[in-house]
């Protein structure tokens, strides 16, 4: 008889240099179950999963597969047991074909012990067919695939190893809506084949859509595992942060000031004929699929991309900004989407990061007013309650949420009139998200105009005063959320160019 509990982790403990990060964690998954694993950053999810993959050694506790206690747990042992992790960042060799990526390290051999390329190709073809990708040749270079297709290749690799438990760490963070649906279809297919899926995500909507059950972790402890039908959104969040959440989203802004920015028929290679107005004290949301032109619109306003035609008027006057420098001088600020690539100086200190855009204020020729700099930095550390060891701590050592707060501080320090936020809560845990939502409201209330770009629909719907929807470089709809209520389906309708069904 086969036990239906495919995986059973019991009383797992783990400490790093004396700090206990997992306390007696139990984690049980059934065959064919999709289990969401949630918790704030530092709750111990990643550590638990790395123990499951054999990357970290557990201090105590047991791991059982099909009711058999596995001793001497290690990376190869985990692989033998069919445990496969699909990482958040794609780890494929970009310049090798799909087939060689899938069978890397376990290539089929011919009699002469050389790699059997034809067999490899054939097996790859079968795997791709299983994933509805029969139109893609096994010889295609990974570089030529879209991100979601690359993810499918990772799944194919997992399948090739006869995976029984697949761990997915935020698999949708760089996928478009359509690609997410495709991924979900494959996850359900795997489920039907009896594979157990452990699904780590910060996106609540997705968890409710895909998971059968949810495990909540907090401070290295297993808090609760429940059937997804038996819990509510706010219960999960409450258990994650460990306190009652009175208001996850701040109340809608009611009073909006005068116009500050107007785009008339603005176009470049990526955006087409955009007309838009922005008012003081408002939060203008921008929704749309990935690649719809939202980031590109922000970049055009901020002077990173050129504007080829059309006009921007700013505070009633014609505005021609050629660079981010011009934009900053004129009181604009942009918190970019990819904070590691475009936002942070990881190897520099918190203070350096926070003041890089306002050096004029405390450096005069060769005179540096260190005290002034420190007081500016202290101010923001206080105001945004950034958790850190000191001003001189390096940015790389902070958690995602605190890194984002450092970037917020850097731009708030410039005292902007317009603040553009591109996916400000991506990859940030619930507690920090909430803080950022409330912070945004405060900023807007002080008269700053905010443009909020987000792929989380509930976020833009709940925070924006008006909500613009973009599709293929065009602004297809603007909802006035002070006057009308909008559903996610309505937004998706316009985001997909009117092709999606409105229910």
């Amino acid at each position: 008889m086969r036990e239906s509990n495919i995986l059973k982790m019991q009383k797992i403990n783990k400490s790093f240099s004396g700090v206990r990060v997992l306390h007696d964690v139990d984690f049980v998954v059934k065959q064919g179950e999709i289990r969401a694993l949630v918790g704030e950053n530092g709750a111990g999810k990643s550590t638990l999963m790395k123990i499951l993959c054999g990357i970290y050694e557990k201090d105590s506790g047991s791991i059982m597969m099909d009711g058999v206690d596995i001793k001497n747990y290690s990376i190869p042992e985990a692989a033998r047991q069919g445990i496969v992790m699909i990482h958040q960042e794609i780890v494929l060799v970009q310049d090798l074909p799909i087939s060689e990526n899938i069978f890397m390290g376990s290539e089929p051999k011919t009699l002469l012990q050389t790699v059997d390329f034809s067999e490899m190709r054939k097996k790859t073809k079968d795997l791709l067919a299983q994933l509805d990708m029969e139109q893609v040749s096994p010889d295609t270079l990974v570089r030529e695939l879209s991100i979601s297709q690359q993810q499918m290749v990772e799944i194919a690799r997992a399948l090739s190893k006869r995976a029984r438990v697949i761990i997915m760490d935020e698999p949708t963070s760089s996928l478009t809506e359509k690609e997410v649906n495709l991924l979900f279809r494959q996850i359900r297919r795997l489920k039907n084949q009896g594979v157990a899926i452990i699904y780590i995500s910060h996106r609540m909507d997705e968890i409710f859509e895909i998971a059968d059950s949810v495990t909540i972790m907090r401070d290295g402890q297993h808090i609760k595992t429940e059937d997804i039908k038996g819990v509510t959104y706010s219960e999960i969040i409450k258990n994650m942060v460990g306190r009652e959440i009175s208001e996850y989203y701040p109340p809608h802004i009611e009073k909006v000031g005068q116009e500050i920015l107007r785009l008339s028929d603005v176009s470049n290679e990526k955006i087409h004929h955009v007309d838009l107005t922005l008012h003081k004290g408002e939060i203008l949301g921008l929704a749309g699929l990935v690649g719809a032109g939202r980031t590109e619109l922000a970049n055009a306003i901020f002077g990173i991309d050129e504007i080829q035609s059309g006009e921007i008027s700013y505070q009633g006057k014609k505005y021609v900004g050629k660079s981010p420098r011009d934009a900053i001088r004129n009181g604009m600020a942009l918190v970019p989407e990819d904070r590691k690539r475009n936002g942070l100086f990881l190897e520099n200190t918190i203070a350096f990061n926070m003041t890089i855009a306002i050096m004029d204020r405390f450096i005069k020729f060769i005179h540096q007013d260190k005290k002034k700099e420190q007081s500016i930095v202290d101010d923001f550390i206080d105001k945004l309650s950034i958790k850190m060891a000191g001003q001189e701590q390096l940015a790389v050592e902070l958690s995602g949420g605190n890194q984002q707060k450092v970037i917020f501080s850097k731009w708030l320090a410039t005292q902007p009139k317009i603040l553009i936020l591109d996916e400000p809560t991506r990859g940030i845990d619930v507690g920090a998200k909430m803080e950022i939502y409330h912070l945004m409201n405060e900023i807007a209330a002080s008269g700053v105009a905010i443009i909020l770009i987000s792929s989380e629909l509930s976020e833009v719907i709940n925070l924006s005063t008006r909500l613009g929807v973009m599709c293929e470089g065009r602004l297809t709809k603007i909802f006035d959320l002070q006057k009308e209520t909008v559903s996610q389906e309505m937004v998706m309708h316009y985001a997909t160019g009117g092709y999606a069904d409105v229910s």
Partner: protein, 330 residues
């Protein structure tokens, strides 16, 4: 908030300097001890001053190299710039121009060389390694063309005295080096330009988003090494009373070594002038000490190579430790 009595000490720049450069300071100290005990003539004022005089050239080059490295590039052309400007300077003097204006012209020529490197680095996507490898050839070629391939001697008294005169007990060359050190410290640590350099070297894209004049700063970060190299070239020519088109060959290697030993990151964004000075001191005293202990110059090369490897290895160790901590938290 750390408002305890230690905070003053902790913010003190001497404390910071020692903490940041602890490894290399210890290395320098051990070397001093060994040499002081192991040889008779090392710990004499005369020897120390002579080593410091020798270090000046590599030190000055290393400050320039550090700038190019910090901004995320490298300058392999410094040796050739030395030869080119040295030859130019002596040639101008030999044509009857007084030494001071000739030196100024040579420094400007160095700035022009750096400007060429900088323009290409700032406005194209060609890697700095390739740019300066190419200009290294060009500048060297021009030096040979200018002199017809021959060394040119100088008999100008003012010019030749640069290498020998002293300010009190301190050789003039040491004074120049200290001035360049001070200038570099101020530029890197106290100006917007310096912060911009660290920002660009740390994350160029983020620097653009932060409104930093990326091109202007990159340009400047190559002009200064050019000027420094010219200064080194003039000093070298003055010390040997002649300018040679083949001078300074391979000097970029020692400059890179000093910078890296002094904690400058090869991937940009990290480094300090004080550390580089220590790096140059280690290399200088090591050469001198090994000479005194009568180690053959071939073994000296081996030793220098090993020291660089060990130093950089220790540096990477520090980095990977930090990454590990980060991973455990995540």
């Amino acid at each position: 908030m750390s408002v305890n009595k230690n905070s003053y000490i902790k913010n003190n720049f001497v404390y910071k300097f020692i903490k940041k450069n602890l490894m290399i300071l210890i290395a320098l100290l051990i070397m001093f001890l060994i040499l002081a005990v192991g040889t008779d003539s090392f710990m004499t004022g005369k020897n120390i001053m002579s080593v410091l005089r020798q270090i000046s050239i590599n030190g000055i080059l290393a400050f320039g190299m550090a700038m190019a490295l910090i901004v995320g590039g490298i300058d392999l052309s410094v040796g050739s710039v030395m030869a080119l400007t040295g030859c130019l300077c002596v040639q101008i003097i030999n044509n009857g121009v007084p030494a001071i204006p000739a030196i100024i012209l040579a420094l400007l020529a160095g700035a022009l060389c750096g400007f060429l490197n900088g323009v290409i680095a700032a406005f194209t996507e060609i890697p700095a390694f390739i740019i300066t490898l190419a200009t290294q050839q060009c500048f060297r070629g021009i030096a040979f063309l200018m002199t017809g391939g021959k060394a040119i001697s100088s008999y100008d008294e003012v010019f030749c005295s640069i290498g020998t005169i002293s300010v009190g007990p301190v050789p003039f060359l040491v004074v120049i080096t200290v001035m360049i050190l001070a200038f570099t410290i101020i530029l890197l640590g106290h100006t917007k330009f310096g912060r911009g350099m660290y920002a660009i070297g740390g994350n160029k894209s983020a620097a653009i988003y932060s409104g930093i004049h990326v091109r202007r700063i990159v340009l400047g970060s190559y002009i200064i090494p050019g000027v420094y190299a010219a200064l080194a070239g003039i000093i070298l020519a003055a010390r040997v009373y002649s300018a040679q088109p083949g001078a300074g060959e391979g000097y970029e290697g020692d400059a890179i070594a000093a910078a890296v030993l002094g904690g400058v990151s090869f991937s940009g964004g990290i480094g300090s002038a004080g550390g580089v000075m220590l790096g140059a001191l280690v290399i200088g005293f090591m050469n001198n000490g090994l000479n005194m202990m009568q180690v053959s110059s071939y073994w000296q090369m081996v030793a220098k190579g090993l020291v660089i490897l060990v130093a950089v290895y220790l540096d990477t160790l520090k980095k990977s430790k930090r990454l590990k901590i980060k991973k455990q938290e995540g």
